[in-house]
Amino acid sequence: MARELKFESPSFGRRLKGMLGVDFYRLFHTPLYYIFLAIAAIIPAMVSGFTSMPDQNGNVMEPLYQNAWQIIAAAEPLYVINTIADYANMNMVFIFGGIMVSIFIGHDYSSGYVKQLFTTHAKKQDYMLSKTIVCAFAMACMCVTYLIGGIAGGLVAGYPFQVNVGSLLLAILGKMVMSLGWASLYTFLNVIFRRYFGVSIASSFFFGTGILIIGAAAIVESLQLPTAFLNIFLYGSSVNACLVSNISTLLICVVVSVAWAVFYNILGTHILSKSDVY
């Protein structure tokens, strides 16, 4: 029985709304999201709590931090880390986030759900954009739970809380804004390594730790170049958002994060469009 058919092309907005709707529905209905929110809260509390505990001889370690807010952001931009404390701040969210994005996107492929998506959504840019936005949202939420965990840890460890509130807020906002750039990088990496789940997780971890920027920073330092140059990278801007942040720090974060998000989205869309789904 033949029937009269109408074909209305859904607008970009409608397509994106549908895709975002699915991804948010999935995010809120998967335990993975809540597990990572909890991890983001527990880790800073553990780091500051453990470092303030006495050892078996009753000696207390030299405190890792001078101030509770250093659990959230470094006192000043540190492109090359010297101690674990330099590293253990809100930037760790970008590592947890990388693993979460890998699992989130990996499930799309391992379950075969991606076939349903691409059967009805011819436009690959919808997929890239939606995943970037949803994963950025998840990472921004992890920044919030990290903040809560960090404060709790600071209280337990008895660190002082004196801070320039404006700079602190700008640093936190800067790091939350950077979630967009990081989420786009991870989405891109997972699209590239979609057939190899283990490789996608490893690559996300590798990039999330900022190993490349640490190498670049070492070169910049040895050549005595201005370190501000490193802020064009995701890790550089993320590190730059510290306890001496000002409005220009936040602006740099916005520009860098959006620019990389656009770059990775265009690149990811191109690769997806030119290659087989699986």
Binding site: M1, A2, R15, R26, S111, Q116, L117, H121, Y278
Partner: protein, 300 residues
Amino acid sequence: MNAIEIRNLSKSFRNLYAVDGLNMTVPMGAIYGFIGENGSGKSTTEKLICGHLVPDNGEIKLFGRDYTDPGVRVRVGALIENAGCFPGSSIYQNLMMQAINLGLENPDEEIHRVLEIVRMSEHAQLKFKKCSLGMRQRIGIAMALLGDPALLILDEPINGLDTDGMRIMREILVDITKKYGCTVLISSHILGELEKIATHYGIIRQGKMIMELSAEEMDSRAQVFVSLKTKDMVGAMKKLAEKYADVRMEDEYVRVYDVDDTASIVDFLMKNGHVVSEIQKNKIGLEEYYIELMSKKEGA
């Protein structure tokens, strides 16, 4: 206007052509049985139509439009290899995700409608990982049915199902085409089942379409024959060969091809001293037709 029109489609993997200059025409409203051996290019063709694979060459049109047009793609539903559901989510949640993805106005209502079609209403809250194979295939069909699709692409949906599962699936597919006017492209190895529902056939071999025909054409091409048993099978066969052009011994029966008059055969054998113990009229089925066609191509 045809539901699917493919011209000169090619797809290779590491220089080996899985689909090689394929042409295909699926009329609107048809249940198109897509037949071919393993590795003949059926699934690859279906994946190309669904946009899962990027073709090397060729043109795919769905309802007269380019297959990448989002307007036409939202009207396509597919079940390729598996249902594409998240194992840890319930059937309802999986369907809800696809309903949101399609931007349906009343997703809850729509989910219950498709669950009813696939006879799964009472299992909506069951986790996908706890479903049997038959249930999973039906959920896959339900996923594909969301959003009023005009075209359904089903890759081996009856593989691995038991007899009852096959019957349910057959009924569902017939329902879909009758009630909703959907065009269905279905590939299957179980030709006996396909024969019961298909209105058109396409036979693919080594990535090339070797024949497309309607069920009526298939019917008219199918040879009729009479099969019989007697005490002296060899003697009866020799005697029948004197009168009829095509007589063969197959499957422990004497078969007289291109004849459907059982009475005249019985009469002829009786006159020649052979008592017929069993006789029936037959028609070559899709499976035999396909095997014969393939053996001819093999010989060619």
